[in-house]
Symmetry: C2
Subunit: 187 residues, 2 copies
């Protein structure tokens, strides 16, 4: 008998490009990120069409226990002195974790728990980030090239942006050519 | 103020080696795999100490929603005409899925649902395997070098080997220098 062997999607670990028939893509532009960067004037000065990051996802089955795989490609750049970053979110299903793998570029993963305690992990090619449940997470590109990170997360996790209206407790800015982390006093 | 930035574990995508302070390792040897290969005489002839595969895992938080990351390194070789493979398992929590990424070497991922329907996906560097819930899974090394695959799976998934006492519906053997897939009639 002949048994068919299928060739699944693939990902290039060097840059996070998927080869697959059906990749879901979502671009987030500057105009989508109102209130995210601390310098509103500098944000206003940028064309709202400026792409900040793109997420590519493979199609997965849906339901409790099923997992997604996707890649985030975050552009290099700054809004004022603040490095480009993703909006960041808690999972709607708070207990659901996620795993990130750095693929390309240099940056930081900002993690924050529900009490507001924040910490940073260095993202670089091959870095492995076990994001526990109950943790908001945001990628920040502190380098000069695209920051690409591969992620695996539960399909039922969902996104909750609303609980972060006061923002993250840390901001990452450029100061005198260096990466500086500032604690936020009020949003 | 000074905010500490931590350096997380890393994985070499070229061979699946983790760099981390605390990697959990488990070696599975020929002697652990009684009844797994179809040729019992050839299995008996191999030293039970022969390492067949090793799983390396990072430490993760435990609990509903938390995720593990680990790498399986499967040796090349055969028991009789049958290629080295992992034991394979359903998740104890049947609905829990898993994602595999091929890193190194060449092989097959055998997937089988609860009705016994089986299929094979080609594993190669960069291949992405979305393993749905309710699917038993087994890696098979059909190449001449170690087959390494990175996996992410829910910490609460667990392993259920007992439901596979009748084995998988397909066996992968070497026949005349080629990889051949055989359908199993009875275990």
């Amino acid at each position: 008998m002949s048994i068919s062997v299928s060739t699944p999607p693939s990902v290039a670990f060097l840059n996070g490009q998927f080869s697959a028939e059906n990749v879901i893509k979502k671009v987030t532009r500057s105009g989508d990120l109102r209130g995210v960067f601390h310098d509103g004037d500098s944000w206003q000065a940028i064309s709202p069409e400026t792409p900040i990051y793109e997420v590519e996802m493979l199609r997965s089955p849906q339901g409790e226990g099923e997992l997604y795989a996707g890649v985030t490609h975050l552009q290099p750049g700054r809004v004022g002195d603040e490095f480009y970053m993703t909006r960041g979110h808690f999972h709607q299903r708070r207990e659901q974790g996620e795993v990130y793998f750095g693929l390309k570029g240099a940056g930081l993963l900002l993690l924050q728990d529900e009490k507001g305690d924040a910490r940073l992990e260095r993202v670089s090619p091959g870095s492995v980030h076990i994001i526990p449940g109950f943790s908001a997470h945001r990628l920040i590109n502190t380098g000069n090239e695209i920051l690409s990170a591969l992620a695996v997360w539960p399909s039922i996790a969902g996104h909750d942006y609303a609980s972060l209206t006061q923002g993250f407790a840390l901001r990452v800015v450029e100061r005198g050519g260096k990466v500086q982390v500032r604690e936020v006093q009020n949003g």
